[in-house]
């Protein structure tokens, strides 16, 4: 477990552990609640759950400032919540309600919350990577004190636009951090069957981008390493940076269930990741009464969000034609 030499005060460390635990626990419970509700067919949207992968979003977003902007993938519930996206609007979106982040017109794969710096996520693999790069170009052009984080999966690396985007980001030395969440699979196909060389960092390094692979899905380690990159850019350094964060998806590619019975992967492969469950690991760093009160507050918040989503109205028929153009 990484120690936090750059946070000398015990109080600050305690507060940070509590924040991180709250974020991890909250994301986990939200998605478990989605999985519970899913069979009732009230959520009319395909869901790609982040359960097991929360550490990456939480570790990265803990290192970011409110003004920083993130771009994500279709598996972005964790990112959305970790960056401070509105939980009620997120759940309402899953229910197709007008109070949703996209007024019920985007669903799980198109989460957005501009106030929190969550730019819209995409259902097509790799597509938000160049969008993040362009956003970072605008940030640099305007001399703004913020940076952009582009989340992608190991599947996104397969797309041609990945190489094009990294090339341009490196050429223009943009204030952007790429976070590759490597969960080993593009849907059901392992990286071994898609890549002749498994080290994704090597691909980014050829553009002269500083890279680092972070093993074992460790929230605090991810936070520490990404924080150092954020600090470097904040202190006048140049981007981009690239991190490959090794992680593991516990549930099926899309949907609320497990899928070890399909045979493309085994429960044995998943077990080490489950033993290193970051919700448990961080929970153990938080004093018990504080942990209980965090959990109670989060549980109540989630219950309220789902209840509101149930009772909120669907969009009016006139919404069909709204917002095609500005």
């Amino acid at each position: 477990m990484a120690e936090f030499s750059f946070f000398p005060s015990t109080e600050r460390k305690t507060a940070m552990y509590e924040r991180i635990y709250r974020s991890l626990y909250r994301i986990r419970r939200v998605e478990e609640r989605i999985a519970e509700v899913y069979p009732t067919d009230t959520i009319k949207s395909p869901v790609h759950l982040s359960i097991g992968q929360e550490a990456v979003s939480v570790g990265v977003c803990e290192a970011l400032r409110p003004q920083d902007v993130v771009f994500g993938t279709y598996r972005s519930h964790a990112l959305f919540l970790a960056k401070g996206g509105d939980l009620k609007a997120m759940i309402a979106e899953l229910y197709g309600k007008v109070t949703g982040v996209a007024r019920g017109k985007g669903g799980s794969m198109h989460m957005i919350d501009l106030k929190a710096g969550v730019m819209g996520t995409s259902a097509v693999v790799g597509t938000t990577v160049p969008n993040a790069v362009g956003y970072a170009y605008a940030v640099k052009y305007r001399r703004e004190n913020r940076l952009v984080v582009s989340f992608l999966g190991d599947g996104g690396v397969d797309e041609g636009v990945f190489a094009e985007s990294l090339n341009f980001a490196a050429l223009k030395k943009l204030p952007i951090i790429f976070i590759c969440e490597n969960n080993g699979y593009a849907i059901h196909t392992h990286q071994r069957l898609r890549h002749p060389a498994l080290n994704i960092c090597d691909r980014a390094a050829v553009y002269g981008i500083p890279t680092e692979r972070i093993e074992n899905n460790e929230t605090l380690r991810i936070h520490e390493r990404v924080k150092s990159a954020v600090d470097a850019i904040e202190n006048g350094g140049q981007g981009p940076y690239f991190f490959e964060c090794m992680t593991y998806r516990w549930k099926e590619h899309v949907g609320p269930n497990e899928d070890y019975q399909l045979g493309y992967r085994s429960r044995e492969e998943a077990e080490p990741w489950m033993r290193n469950d970051q919700v448990g690991v961080l929970g153990a760093l938080v004093e018990e009464s504080a942990r209980k009160s965090i959990e109670q507050a989060v549980d109540a918040e989630i219950a309220e969000a789902f209840a509101l989503a149930e009772s909120d109205p669907f969009p009016a028929a006139s919404e069909l034609m709204a917002d095609v153009y500005k």
Binding site: T127, P130, V133, G134, A138, Y141, E164, F168, V324
Partner: protein, 348 residues
Amino acid sequence: MERIIQYTEALREAADQEMERDASVLVFGLDVDDPKAIQGTTRGLLERYGAERVFGTPLSEDAMTGAAIGMALAGLRPVHVHIRMDFLMLAMNQLVNVAAKSRYMFGGAVHVPMVVRSMIGKSWGQGAQHSQGLYSFFMHVPGLKVVAPTTPYDAKGCLIAAIRDDNPVMFVEHRILHFQKGPVPEAPYSVPPGKARVTAKGDDITLVGISYMQVECQRAHHYLAGEEIGAEVIDPIWLSPLDIDTIVDSVRRTGRLLVVDNGWSTCGASAEIIAQVMEQLQGEREVRVKRMGFAPVTCPTTPNLEDAYYPNARTIAAAAYWMVRASGASWMPEERKDLQSIEFKGPF
């Protein structure tokens, strides 16, 4: 005195004036900053506005289109330039799945103010992959706007309108139109969507000419006048949103509609225009319709086959004559030197 300038200079002036007015306007694309400056349409912009606002790009149409969208999401107004429309096929994911959809699928939270300039080639052996007029692909997709100005006046006004538009605009140029000269006011002005232009009056048939085919339709108008056939010629200018009312009003009077497209007819702009007109006029008025466009083959390079591939003023006039003269008589005008096509000379 009207000032007469070339289409390319009109485009350059529009970009220059908008960049001067608004620091959020950027121009980039392959070779926009090279000595040829995209036929002169970007000449001087680098010197005036610097390399952060005017830059050549790697050969990465997909990522650079995605980057343009990201810039637009951040509040900039990028103008992304492609010297061939054919190259847009490398950027379809970003254009169709992201640029067109972001506003709607994020419930109105964002908008994507960007302009994609691209050029259609013709003649001098440009062939299969340097000649395609593919704007109907983009007309098909809600969320995109499409414009194909014909004159220098509209080139300037439409580019200014496109840059100021809060939506993604596909701005389609034809390389032969780049040589057109015409009156262009010096002060900035806008030719926004919503109004097609009647470019010649007539009562016997309505000719709708898109992009370069507008020029051929105007020539056809003169050939037909020699046979005492009055052809009304309409330039839609903006293809999406389309001002169908101007076309319907004309056809209601003439009862005949020939749409000449600078692309293939199948599922093309000509098919769409005729379908919309018929939806409005069916039951009210008998209407004869016809489409003309590229031959339904890949564009060949050899001159004699290429000539047969494209509609031209004489074949357009012949088709119109056949539609007007109910007798079914066929007629083809003798070529008139004063109405000859401008020949494009390479190298390109």
